[in-house]
Amino acid sequence: MCDNIVRISDSLPENAVNTDKNILLEAQSILIVGVGGQGTLLASRILGNTVIGQGYDVKVSEVHGMSQRGGSVVTYVKYGKKVYSPIIGKGEADIILAFEQLEAYRALPYLKKGGKMIINNQKIPPMPVITGAARYPENIEEKLCAVCDLVSIDALSMASSAGNIKTLNVVLIGVMAKNTNIPYEAWVETLKTTVPERLLDVNLRAFDLGYNI
């Protein structure tokens, strides 16, 4: 087992992750990947709206339609002084935020050398695996860990301890947020305007759990 796979479950060790606070100072490209229905679109919107509040130019690209139905979902968020293309090419992502292990692995070629991979360690078998036509790759975390800077968390348990497993996207946003130079308050402000009021408390709890790992 790699040393820097950080496993976080209900008991949250303090300072479990050595966070490099400046990682986003120069970062411009964040790839968010997951499985349709996991809430990747909302995550990209929270990120996009927080970034514009900081005065950046920003582009967010998402795919709708078929891929909402349990397919692979890829969302790109790019920001900087001026952004042209809304999509991210191979070797260009500063951060990959992955909601599922296989999708993290699939996205690996897009990670920049020295980039950071933040993953939810959940495994969701795709239909070819369910039908037996393909196998779910083994030891993905170890394979990723060998080639990149990996933070792996159990976002599902964290979301569940926040009070709603659907907040796993916000837990992951919290982990990523801690790795940026954007102030905590800016994220909270965006959450207040993006999530419905009755769900705000649980989402703020989820964000804090991710932010404070």
Binding site: K59, G65, S72, K90, K112, P128, I130, A134
Partner: protein, 580 residues
């Protein structure tokens, strides 16, 4: 002015709103759907917004509004434009009174479509000018300009989007609506009654219009040269312009074409004169490239760039500069694809489970239920276009006869049936067919993300309205046997399908169960597999994303994915699955 992060589609809606649009009528279709959904967020006192039964109707409503003096817009996906084509080709002859904009979204890469056609062909064929924005800011500005051009040149104006532009968010300056008086309505038979004597005269006007628009294309602010003192020139429009900028920066000169029909001649010739090599970077068909070649400008196009799918900055950097992607880690093993699947709790799953079990040939249609073609269900035999399930099945029976017909059904969603399935059903009745059509009534237009339609009893603004009664509708066209059945009650559903396919008369089964993602659907709890499981794997045949099994062990249900719909409980032969 406020800057907001908006989807391309939302920016089109904002542009239309600010331009004082009065009527917006559309049929949903990915990637265009959100334009009309966003329109419905503006006050109804200002904009009349509707979901129409199909694109032809939507364009006719918009054209009528324009003739009557109010600015109007209709939006569709690329294949929707095929359905809309009939009124549109003639709308270029009638021209407009108030501005008329048709927004069409192409789906490069076929994220959610049955083909990859290039809508720019329609602009040329229908002789309608076409603008192509490259980001959300341009979406808004081009839409406002499109209304102006429409009125100035007395023509409908197309706006063409790609999936990437429609579904990317970028910053938009949001302004105020410019309220406009209706233009006076005056009867004008020569302009609006397109019978031969009048149409012959209008065609002359159409050709004159296009000449004037060609002059406009030469000097329009939509078409811009960026000179970076390079020997390489790149001609691009829409999203590919941004990909080129990303990939090539200031190392080349650009001609950005914001107007893709009609195309300028002198501007292109002058641009090319100052370059040694000119590339045309356009997704799908070589429309700009062929225009360049026709006017004698040497360009490099499809010999370097594919006609398939979406482009990327990486492809452009490689083709123009020979530069490959930055250092990265390629995967050292094949990993399984993750194709879309029917959601856990999807009502269609019960239907296809039964159709597969009965070994029926299934003439399919466009909607979530197209996924009935995917393993393990593998039930659907054909999918062509909206409505084709009904009419194509009739054609199959004509050739293969009565016995084949007893093993054949059409499946079509409620919204798709209204769109263009009803006409096929009338054909079956009128021409003495005996087909069985299954209408998958899930109480919503599902695939495009939950839009109301004439069978749901609600308008786009959620207001109550008259609801099409599918039973009465089928009865009225001459179907005497209409049965409503619940696809989750698999035993009864199977019985109904057997009975109706055996029948020597045409029949309709309405498979009624709402989409599991509707807020009104409240499944509770989870299904669990108990130790009574004999590992027969019948439940795996459902293709439910919540049920899986590893290495020959008994199946398990993933609690986070299961919504407790209970279909697996109904198919387990050993009653080993329980609701918990």
């Amino acid at each position: 002015m406020k800057k907001r992060l908006l989807l391309g589609n939302a920016a089109i809606a904002e542009g239309a709103y600010e331009a004082g649009v009065r009527v917006v009528s559309s049929y949903p279709g990915t990637p265009s759907t959100e334009i009309t959904e966003c329109m419905a967020k503006y006050p109804k006192e200002e904009v009349d917004v509707e979901w129409s039964p199909n694109e032809k109707v939507s364009a006719e409503v918009a054209l009528g509004a324009s003739i009557a003096g109010g600015r109007a817009m209709s939006c569709c996906k690329h294949v929707g434009l095929n359905v809309m084509a009939d009124p549109i080709f003639t709308a270029s002859y009638t021209g407009v009174n108030a501005g008329l904009v048709i927004c069409v979204a192409d789906d490069q890469g076929m994220h959610s479509s049955q083909n990859e056609q290039d809508s720019r062909h329609y602009a040329k064929a229908a002789k309608i000018p076409m603008l192509e924005p490259s980001d959300s800011g341009e979406c808004k500005e081009f839409t406002k300009l499109a209304f102006e051009l429409s009125e100035t040149y007395d023509t409908p104006v197309f706006i063409r989007l790609s999936t990437r532009v429609a579904h990317s968010q970028s910053l938009v300056e949001v302004g105020n609506r410019q309220e406009r008086e209706l233009k006076p309505y005056e009867k004008n038979i020569g302009k609006y009654v397109m019978m031969p004597a009048n149409a012959i005269k209008r065609h002359v006007e159409v050709e004159k219009k296009i000449l004037h628009l060609k002059e406009y294309a030469e000097k329009s602010p939509l078409n811009v040269i960026e000179n970076n003192s390079s020997k390489i020139g790149v001609i691009a429009s829409g999203i590919t312009y941004l990909y080129a900028k990303e990939a090539l920066g200031e190392s080349v000169n650009y001609l950005k074409l914001g107007m893709v029909y009609p195309l300028p001649e002198k501007l292109i010739t002058d641009f090319a004169k100052n370059c040694e090599t000119v590339y045309v970077v356009e997704e799908l068909d070589p429309i700009i490239e062929e225009h360049c070649k026709a006017i004698g400008v040497k360009v490099i196009g499809k010999e370097k760039f594919t006609m398939l799918g979406e482009y990327t900055p990486e492809m452009i950097a490689l083709a123009v500069l020979g530069k490959s992607a930055p250092e990265h880690t390629d995967l050292s093993e094949q990993i399984p694809a993750r194709p879309p699947v029917m959601c856990a709790g999807c009502p269609h799953r019960g239907t296809f489970y039964v159709l597969k079990k009965l070994g029926l040939t299934v003439s399919g249609d466009i909607g979530c239920y197209t996924l009935g073609a995917v393993a393990p269900l593998l039930s659907v035999d054909t999918t062509i276009c909206m409505g084709a399930s009904v009419s194509a099945a009739f054609g199959m029976s004509k050739v293969r006869g009565a016995e084949f017909n007893k093993k054949l059904v059409s499946v079509i969603g409620d919204s798709t049936f209204i769109h263009s399935g009803i006409t096929g059903l009338i054909d079956i009745v009128y021409n003495k067919g005996i087909n069985t059509v299954i209408i998958l009534d899930n109480s919503i237009t599902g695939m495009t993300g939950h839009q109301d339609n004439p069978t749901t009893g609600k308008t786009i603004r959620g207001e109550a309205t008259k609801q099409v009664d599918l039973i009465k509708l089928c009865n009225a066209v001459g179907i005497e046997h209409v049965v409503v059945a619940d696809p989750f009650d698999v035993k009864s559903f199977e019985k109904v399908v057997k009975e109706e396919t055996e029948r020597e008369e045409p029949s309709v089964i309405i498979a009624q169960r709402p989409c599991a993602l509707l807020k009104t659907v409240k499944y509770t709890g989870n299904c669990i597999i108990t130790d009574r499981c004999k590992n027969c794997k019948m439940c795996l045949k459902l293709g439910c994303p919540a049920i899986s099994c590893k290495d020959g062990r008994s199946p398990v249900i993933d609690k986070t994915q299961c919504n407790g719909c209970g279909l697996c409980v109904n198919v387990c032969p050993f009653s080993a699955i329980e609701k918990a």
